[in-house]
């Protein structure tokens, strides 16, 4: 039901997007698809040497065991030379009876034949090795990719206390294999597609047939296929292309580098979108509540994880509203504070010449700067930035009478509260909303804060993720799903819900 309407809106947004972007002319290779290889080696060699799209091609002419000559081609450093010499060259040079076909001699698991140049060039660029044989109309295609791989280790920004410590790596196939280790169900389906005009990137969509909603898949496939963009280098780019509302500050899909949390999401009937060469996997459709859940919540006991959940929601509120509440109280409603507190605040604000909004903006801005500065610096210098920023600037700003003590406390609390959010995308959204909230609070006080709060709630309620409501379980109220929201009920009570929920 949501889907149909959503699709209409989607089409409109997509049209808008299309209009925004100038269509890139798709560059084609200068040969037609039908052009096939010749059975004469010389002609093929001629073509390969003069082909502009194959720099660094290495061509070797050999004579194989049955006396025919052959041409072995691959691109240096893309293919594994040791593998080629061991599995291709040495059997070809070996002692075999001439009746044997070449295919029977080469001991590699996947051996295909190709005969048109477009395919051959694509395969060569992917690191395959192609073997042309005199008098044959087909060339042999041997997968000898040598990829630069790293070891799967725990993702730095999604650490957990318990649970597995494995993280996704770059190649698509490895990531799928890693997911399969967690999900041995025969219901797991994978759909592949390619994205990008200039440079095709392989994208895999994974889901569990018995749990996932097929309408969402249709919508998702449709959106991915309609992506009109040069190149997708990272899943973050694809994520923005398929979002429902690109003008929202809230992320409408989740990205994770943890196979276990992606597997848990698949088990809730969600879809995982894996982009080749990107270690973060997109999970959609998602709801607002998902940004407050972490895989750790399920492995620790329910009372402690409920406490952590409440902590997260409280810090969500603090991170957005605390500076604006400070501004509202100081500049509008100081009468709501008890006298003693008012006096102590007045004491600390006595020397500050600025109105609270300037004070707050100054401090919050410095805080954001510090955070951004510390992010990309090496660890040892990062600590220095923290000390300089936190202790020296904070302390001396108060002593110099630029900001009040209370303001420093408020800023520090918001900073800590925003670190509590388990999802960096959501944390960024929160960091951003704080500034308009402060502005509104400085103009309208408490009313402004409530108006801001109302607008955020309205926005969350009207958002959708791949055509499913984003505000679940609060926006459209779903009593059953509330068991896994602010309070995480014992696992056996939510077990059924998690599996049978269709988004």
């Amino acid at each position: 039901m949501y889907i149909v309407k959503r699709r209409k809106i989607c089409e409109v947004t997509r049209m808008r997007r299309k209009r925004r972007k100038i269509k890139e002319p798709t560059k084609q290779l200068s040969l037609s698809k039908e052009e096939v290889i010749s059975s004469y080696l010389a002609e093929n060699k001629e073509f390969l040497i003069h082909s502009p799209s194959l720099p660094g091609l290495s061509i070797r002419e050999i004579t194989i065991f049955d006396g025919r000559s052959a041409l072995l081609t691959y691109i240096d450093h893309l293919s594994d030379t040791a593998y080629i010499s061991q599995n291709v060259l040495s059997p070809l040079f070996g002692d075999h009876s001439p009746q044997k076909s070449v295919k029977d001699v080469i001991p590699v698991p996947n051996l295909k034949t190709v005969n048109n140049w477009t395919n051959i060039i694509t395969n060569l660029l992917h690191g395959c090795c192609i073997l042309f044989i005199e008098g044959e109309n087909d060339a042999l295609h041997i997968n000898a990719q040598s990829l630069q791989k790293r070891k799967p280790d725990e993702p730095a920004n999604e650490r957990t206390i318990r649970g597995s410590h494995i993280g996704f790596v770059e190649p698509l196939e490895d990531n799928i294999a890693m997911l399969r280790q967690f999900l041995t169900s025969d219901q797991l389906r994978i759909k592949y597609t390619y994205v990008g005009n200039e440079n095709k990137t392989k994208v895999g969509i994974l889901y569990l047939e018995n749990l996932a909603n097929p309408e969402v898949l249709e919508e998702l496939m449709d959106r991915i296929e309609k992506v009109n963009y040069k190149t997708i280098l990272d899943s973050g780019e694809l994520e923005q292309m398929i979002e429902d509302n690109p003008y929202s500050i809230f992320p409408q899909s989740l990205s994770s580098e943890r196979p276990d949390s992606v597997a848990a999401d698949l088990l809730q009937g969600r879809y995982a979108i894996i982009v080749d060469r990107s270690p973060s996997v997109i999970v959609a459709p998602i709801n607002f509540n998902s940004f407050f859940q972490s895989i750790d919540d399920y492995s620790s006991r329910w009372i402690s994880s409920s406490f952590i959940r409440i902590l997260r929601f409280v810090s969500f509120v603090i991170a957005i509203f605390l500076p604006s509440i400070y501004i509202a109280i100081i500049s509008f409603h100081y009468e709501i504070l008890p006298l003693e507190l008012l006096l102590s605040i007045g004491q600390s604000r006595r020397e500050v010449p600025f109105p609270p909004i300037i004070e707050a903006f100054l401090m919050e801005f410095i805080l954001e700067m510090l955070r951004e500065a510390g992010l990309r610096l090496p660890k040892s210098i990062g600590q220095t930035v923290g000390i300089v920023g936190g202790i020296i600037i904070g302390q001396s700003a108060v002593e110099a009478g630029i900001v009040s003590n209370i303001m420093v406390i408020v800023v520090a609390m918001t900073a800590i509260a925003s670190f509590v959010m388990p999802n960096p995308e959501m944390a960024f959204g929160i960091r951003f909303i704080r500034f308009p909230m402060m502005l509104v609070a400085s103009f309208f006080g408490m009313v402004g804060i409530v108006i801001g709060f109302m607008t955020i709630v309205m926005h969350l309620v009207s958002l959708e993720s791949v055509g499913t409501p984003y505000g679940v379980p609060y926006g459209p109220l779903k009593w059953k799903d509330l068991k896994d929201s602010i309070i995480r009920f014992p696992l056996w009570t939510i077990n059924k819900v998690r599996v049978s929920r269709r988004n």
Binding site: M1, V4, H333, V447, L477
Partner: protein, 365 residues
Amino acid sequence: MPNFKNNTLTLTQFSLLIYGTQSGIGILSLPRDLAEIGDTSSWIALFLGYALSVVASIIIIQVMKKYPEDTIIQLFRRFFGKWLGSVFSICWIAYTALGMFLITATSVFIINTWVLPKTAPYLILLIITIPSFYLARNGLRIISRFSVLVFFFTSWMAFLFMSPMFTGDLLNLLPIIKDGFMPIIKSVPSITFSFLGLELLFIFYPFLEDKTKAIKGVLIANGITLLSYLVVTFSSFIFYGPYEVLEYVWPTLNLVKPIEFPFLERFEIIFLSFYLLILATTGIPYYFASSFSIAQLLGRKDHQIILFLTLPLLYICFYFFTNSLTNLDKLGGIFNKIGLGIAFFMPLLLVVYGWLFRKVRRHKP
């Protein structure tokens, strides 16, 4: 045809949407209105008001039931033809627009007098209308999601209103029925005003997913409204007594004033700011109803553009309107009278007319 199918409401959403529309502004002055006419026992009239509004809602449902895909605009056109139907539709639109204006102006006035006395009413109007327009431009489903959320989010306020009950004197409620039943019956009309909002059923009904549950939804909505009115009335009668209530313009808001926490004085500022949420659930359905009705009248699918065109109109009207208590009272009186006609008498006429209409139609196919 608007796409009702993608905007269907569940029973909870339907009933809480109606509840949100009903309670909001009426509740603020209700105890005073009751005490003015009916004295201590006027709370009995609340039950009569409830019964009346339930009957009215059921009649509206009976009217709409025959044509489940029609809103009031299409119904007018079906019953009275193009021209006469349009005239009636314009009256309806004028009424909903008046409701929209009244609620907005009242909210601005409340905030201006209680929370932000130094801020210009214009700015308050501006800041209030922005979220209202933002939500109203979406479909009814999203509005109802918001209403449901606000209902649960603001349910703590009920306990707040209840707390003065325990500090006051129960004797204030006595004597029950001291002057006979006449004062009670006399206060019924002023109570039916407080149940206004149910006339938007004319717009909401086609969106309801399961039409058989309509009556149940109406019962729930009116029931919750009745309950909240009872709480507020009892609370202020017990706390203030029947004579002191009359001294306040909005006794309901004054109920919150004495509440204090060790870390928080003048709690009513925070309370009133959050009361904006409830005012939004009252106002936004009127915003939606007026722009949606205009869109229907013009045969447009999309009500967003019309909503954006009504925004400057609202500002212009506000410019010519002196926002004072007497003016608001006057405007409220007009709105209540029209509302009474639209919510209680028009459905009756429509039921009879519809019955005749179908009979005549059957004779000449």
